[in-house]
């Protein structure tokens, strides 16, 4: 029973998408949700079976040729190893919970069938991405998830800013895809194949390109370019914050748990290439580390609950990318998994809050939701602790492993470790700022609205604050448990764990070890020290958040006023969007319109042609006058013609 064909896993959601897309309009919301959730549930079940049947060797299935011309051939083939198996479990597992949640969340929104058709289509493409057995098929999933992201960000397409955000996401991703496309082509001409099963072992036999920039370095940098697009890393991260205009379950599934981690996946998948290209590795680590810190700083001052989470996602993926950059692929994927749990939970919790507040997203206008939304409160707290990497929550184990690797790996160093450590502190600060402003204090809008300071109870009744229905809270609770306990599968030896995670995932990365380097020497003492540092920093961030937003709220305003300039810069996201618009978008549009179209096409080319036409016309007009109808002038022309003709003949014969 473990040998059901792999293609069933992605095809089930595709069938669900097709059914709901074509006929969903005719059925009730309940039926639509049942099909969508059922498709993902079955797919999850099959993923579990495939996981259980996983042997030592990767399982490869081929379903025939997709593109075959001359000497080139690319097949539809799937490749199941521990890495892709984990990814399918995350995509279908977390995807299933989010689908269930969305079945409740989306009821008031309209376009129910359309929403679930897109969601299932997304799951199909994401599964294709992670199961693909060659880079070209991976690219199918890669582009496909981008499409679904476009469709779902722009789900409320009547709102112009949502449509803008969708388009921006697609375009920025396309810039990255340009890199992937060139990388694919270079891969083919370097390895004569696009299959993982052929490329990866051969890459592992290559010497390390430590002196010269060779094809591997180029390929790896181009893949990194694609990853910065899809995974929202510097400099192509700008689309993700805007993507929050999509429905909240979409943010949870696509823009937190799964799609945005595709960049990490492709780098990890290409691990054997990367470890032979140290320059590219350094670039990866740097991009990851810088993004982690940079995005975290922006997250500190944002006031939209989903935007804070978006910057947090960018920052956390930065961690994963940094881990890849120090060849800690196992740690990167571990963090990918735990992050999928707690970040999906954070988004769904935020959705629950937004739901209760009738669409309000500004955390300055929230507050005091602790009592009225206990399930959301407790699960959200678990996720915040996991994000802050507090022991024993899941984020602690994965983040700690990344920090340790950043410190100890031959490609790492103290600098990267410090970047990661600083980010950890800031992360802990911004997430508890969010948490405290949302769940503690008084409901702000209610307090403002009431003529005299109203009590908590009054505010609650005024706003009909309520906990979300069970269909939404159960996924929260399950994700909460995973956020709490999910890290123990990677519990390191230090805690007496056997680290089943590393043992399980290791075969996927056995080719992706740095040649000539053994495993970094594990000094338990150093590791304990670093761990203590990161815990300390996490608590420092937590403490600072409590100080500023719970114990001394006035202090936050004072600080804000004191560092007004810096605050404004960070609040406006370092003006990067404006910078891009000024530098790229406007010159392109204006140049194309004024110079290329109106200048070149209309004036230079058509102008020349029209002038030639007019001149031809004028010549004809002049010649026309020869036929004046005047007999004497005809005689004159005849004489002239005869003279010329005779003259010509005489000249010719002489």
């Amino acid at each position: 029973m473990f040998n059901l064909p792999l293609w069933l896993i992605p095809v089930l959601p595709l069938a669900g998408a097709a059914w709901n897309g074509l006929w969903g309009k005719r059925y009730t919301e309940r039926a639509v949700a049942a099909i969508a959730v059922g498709a993902v549930a079955l797919s999850f079940l099959l993923s579990v079976l495939a996981f259980a049947g996983l042997g030592g060797e990767p399982r490869i299935e081929s379903y025939g040729a997709w593109i075959a011309a001359a000497s080139f051939q690319a097949n539809f083939n799937f490749y199941l190893d521990p890495l892709s198996s984990v990814m399918t479990l995350v995509v279908t597992g977390v995807g299933l919970l989010i689908h269930i949640y969305a079945a409740g969340y989306m009821t008031r929104e309209g376009g129910y069938y359309r929403f679930f058709a897109y969601m299932n289509l997304f799951v199909f493409f994401m599964l294709t991405l992670v199961l693909a057995g060659n880079y070209l098929l991976l690219f199918v999933g890669w582009e496909g998830v981008g499409l679904c992201s476009y469709l779902l960000i722009g789900f409320y397409f009547r709102k112009n800013d949502a449509a803008d955000a969708g388009k921006k996401a697609f375009l920025v991703n396309r810039i990255g895809d340009f890199g992937i496309l060139i990388a694919l082509i270079l891969l083919y001409w370097t390895f004569d194949s696009l299959n993982f099963s052929q490329i990866l072992p051969r890459a592992a036999e290559l010497p390390v390109e430590s002196d010269a920039v060779g094809p591997l370095t180029l390929i790896c940098l181009l893949i990194l370019m694609g990853a910065t697009g899809k995974s929202a890393q510097v400099p192509l991260y700008v689309w993700l914050p805007d993507a929050m205009l999509g429905p909240t379950p979409v943010s949870a599934l696509i823009h937190a748990a799964t799609m945005v981690t595709a960049g990490v996946y492709i780098i990890a998948r290409s691990g054997p290439l990367y470890v032979h290209a140290p320059d590219a590795m350094f670039a990866v680590a740097l991009v990851g580390g810088v993004t982690a810190l940079y995005a975290a700083t922006i997250g500190v001052v944002q006031n939209d609950i989903k935007r804070v989470l978006a910057y947090s996602t960018i920052s956390q993926i930065g961690y994963m990318v940094m881990a890849c950059g120090v060849a800690a692929f196992s740690a990167a994927i571990f963090h990918l998994v735990t992050h999928a749990f707690f970040k999906a939970l954070l988004f769904l919790g935020a959705g629950s809050v937004i739901h209760a507040l009738g669409g309000e997203q500004d955390i300055r206008k929230m507050g005091g939701l602790r009592r009225s939304m206990p399930r959301t409160y407790w699960t959200f707290l678990a996720a915040c602790l996991a994000l802050s990497a507090v022991w024993p929550f899941s984020g602690f184990f994965s983040k700690d492993e990344i920090l340790w690797e950043a410190y100890s790996s031959p490609y790492g160093g103290v600098g990267l470790w410090l970047l990661g450590l600083l980010t950890a502190g800031i992360s802990s600060f911004y997430i508890f700022r969010l948490f405290l402003l949302t769940f503690y204090g008084l409901p702000k809008t209610a307090a403002d609205a009431a003529p005299e300071p109203a009590g908590l109870e009054a505010a609650h009744s005024a706003y009909h604050l309520h906990e979300s229905p069970p269909i939404m809270t159960w996924p929260l609770i399950l994700l909460g448990m995973l956020s709490l306990a999910g890290g123990w599968m990677g519990s390191p030896f230090l805690f007496g764990g056997s680290d089943p995670w590393s043992r399980f995932i290791a075969p996927a990365f056995q080719l992706a070890v740095i040649p000539g380097e053994g495993a970094p020497a594990h000094s338990a003492q150093t590791e304990h020290l670093l761990m203590a540092c990161s815990l300390l920093v996490s608590f420092a961030g937590l403490f600072l958040a409590l100080l500023l937003y719970r114990w001394r709220p006035a202090l936050a305003d004072v600080l804000q006023a004191r560092f007004r300039g810096a605050y404004q810069v960070v609040l406006n996201k370092y003006f990067v969007d404006e910078f891009y618009r000024f530098l790229f978008v406007r010159p392109l549009v204006i140049g194309s319109s004024e110079f290329l179209w109106k200048g070149m096409d209309m004036v230079a080319i058509d102008g020349t042609i029209h002038r030639a036409a007019r001149r031809t016309g004028r010549v004809g007009d002049t010649l026309r006058r020869m036929q004046s109808g005047n007999v004497r002038s005809y005689a004159g022309w005849m004489v002239l013609g005869a003279v010329l003709l005779i003259g010509f003949l005489v000249m010719w014969t002489v």
Binding site: I67, A69, S71, F72, L588
Partner: protein
């Protein structure tokens, strides 16, 4: 078997003859006849690829008879892997053009369908003619019906556009005629197969200078038709003013005649000249890709936007052809088909919007997805096909072209691939302005597609999907012909020795095969 191709070629012409005898006051009968004839032609041409033997480069379904003794003009027709699917594409798009004109053409119905069917015969003739004079005849036959389609059933500035179209094209084709006659004087035959044989056997040779001028004369005709930058300015005007069916045929198949001519005649007949001029032509093609995309981005007129996107797409095709690499050439042929289907469908969609709004200005649209979800969905799929989303048709062609070109020059690939980003930019921006946002008061009652329109578009969308996932069916039939074409042009050998050693080998070179081992061209072995 040869009867099949002759039927495909002359059935539409026979249809025009019948239409002449149908009474003008019965438009329904004329329409019914047009649709029957075009469907029958399509049905016959669908049989072509199934009767076609892959693996051989020889012309198939051949008829080779003398037409005139002096000058020796032959009725020599046939298809190979390059022209096979272009015939099919023509038949397919003619059916769609007939159906889309069902209601939109109310006046001069008889003449309209007469010209449309005549255009079909002319276009198919261009793709199947082997004799150069025959080719020229069909080439000019396409010009006349298109001139009238634009000039009579077009929009406001139709006369200007029709004349511009006619003059541009005729300048090029007259130069080609001169070259054809010159070739006849040199070889004593118009038959391109016989000329190629004479060249191959060494019975005749062309000096480089002869090749150079002959190449340029042919190239002028084809480059205008493609159109290659900077000869493209007739295209936006012709498209904007043409009726929907005219735009579909123009973009779908007439432009392909240019690219096809380059591949069929310019490369094998004048290989040295092609080689010498490849770099400037590639530069023009690259300029076309980027320039066409950028200018498309800022068009306020929907039809013009798509017209400029054609300049970009065809630039990629020309790039593929002049890279002299088999993968790129196959990609280019595939891309001709893809562009025909996708851009054809885009013009159909724009036509449907125009029928409802009586405007082509993007600013008059907006929010159309709300009143017309089916139209919006089909438009989106076509848009995605056009910007090269994998699993849809264009991706396959674009990828193969880029893959093949890369073997020649990395820079070319990188520049051409910017088209990937730019096409997404102009198409999605356009889509947003047309379909997303809030619909204006006037557009609230915008009617969605009816059953006929849905059927037309579903056929196109089905083909996009089919060509996106089942490409080997098409590509495998092109292998032998494209290989032979590059072989005959003597272009393959030059490539191999030129490229292998330095460009791909990494510093180590450990797993890179020695030169010559890699099956560059022609082998069809299956790589697992």
């Amino acid at each position: 078997m040869s009867a099949l191709l002759n039927c495909v070629l002359f059935l539409p012409a026979a249809g025009t003859a019948v239409i002449l005898f149908l009474p003008r006051r019965r438009p329904a009968a004329i329409r019914a006849l047009a649709v029957t004839v075009s469907l029958a032609t399509l049905a016959l041409s669908v049989a072509l690829p199934f009767g076609f033997v892959p693996g051989t480069a020889a012309m198939q379904f051949v008829t080779d008879r003398s037409w005139m003794d002096s000058p020796a003009i032959r009725y020599h027709v046939g298809v190979d892997g390059i022209s096979l699917f272009l015939v099919l594409l023509t038949a397919f798009l003619t059916v769609l053009s007939v159906l889309i004109s069902w209601r939109s053409v109310e006046e001069h119905v008889k003449e309209f369908f007469f010209f449309l069917l005549l255009l079909e015969t002319g276009t198919i003739g261009v793709f199947v003619a082997v004799d150069l004079f025959l080719f020229y005849v069909f080439w000019e036959v396409t010009l006349v019906p298109m001139y009238f389609l634009i000039g009579i059933w077009g929009h406001e500035r139709r006369v200007y556009a029709a004349v511009k179209f006619f003059l541009f094209t005729v300048v090029g084709s007259l130069l080609m005629l001169v070259a054809i006659i010159w070739l006849y004087n040199l070889f004593g035959t118009f038959d391109s197969e016989r000329i190629l044989q004479a060249l191959a056997s060494g019975a005749h040779t062309l000096t480089f200078l002869q090749q150079f001028w002959l190449f340029l004369a042919f190239f002028a005709a084809f480059a205008i038709k493609v159109p290659l930058f900077p000869l493209h300015t007739w295209l936006p005007d012709a498209h904007v003013e043409a009726p929907t069916a005219g735009s579909v045929m123009l973009a779908g198949v007439l432009l392909k005649m240019g690219a096809y001519g380059l591949l069929r005649f310019c490369l094998p007949l004048f290989p040295d000249a092609a080689h010498a001029l490849a770099t400037p032509i590639i530069v023009l093609a690259l300029v076309g890709i980027i320039y066409g995309s950028l200018v498309a981005m800022v068009q306020p007129d929907l039809k013009k936007l798509i017209a400029y996107s054609s300049v970009a797409h065809l630039g990629l095709v020309v790039l593929g052809i002049f890279s002299f690499n088999q993968l790129a050439v196959e990609g280019a042929v595939y891309q001709m088909l893809n562009h025909g289907v996708s851009t054809g469908a885009l013009f159909l969609l724009v036509g449907m919007i125009y029928e409802r709004l009586h405007s082509r200005q993007i600013s008059d649209m907006g929010g159309l997805a709300t009143p017309a979800p089916v139209l919006a969905t089909l438009f989106l799929i076509t848009t995605l096909s056009s910007i090269g989303l994998p699993l849809l048709n264009n991706f396959v062609g674009e990828f193969l072209i880029l893959l093949g070109v890369q073997q020649e020059r990395t820079l070319y690939t990188a520049l051409a691939a910017t088209g990937v980003v730019l096409s997404a930019a102009y198409m999605l921006w356009m889509y947003q302005r047309v379909f997303l946002g809030e619909a204006s008061e006037r557009n609230q009652t915008f009617p969605d597609l009816d059953r006929r329109e849905r059927g037309i578009l579903l056929a196109a969308v089905a083909l996009m999907l089919l060509m996106g996932v089942r490409s080997p069916f098409f590509l495998r039939r092109m292998d032998a012909s494209t290989a032979a074409l590059l072989d005959r042009a003597g272009l393959r050998e030059t490539r191999v020795e030129r490229v292998v050693p330095s460009e791909v080998a990494p510093a180590s070179g450990r797993f890179i095969e020695p030169p010559g081992r890699r099956p560059y061209i022609g082998t069809t072995e299956v790589v697992p």
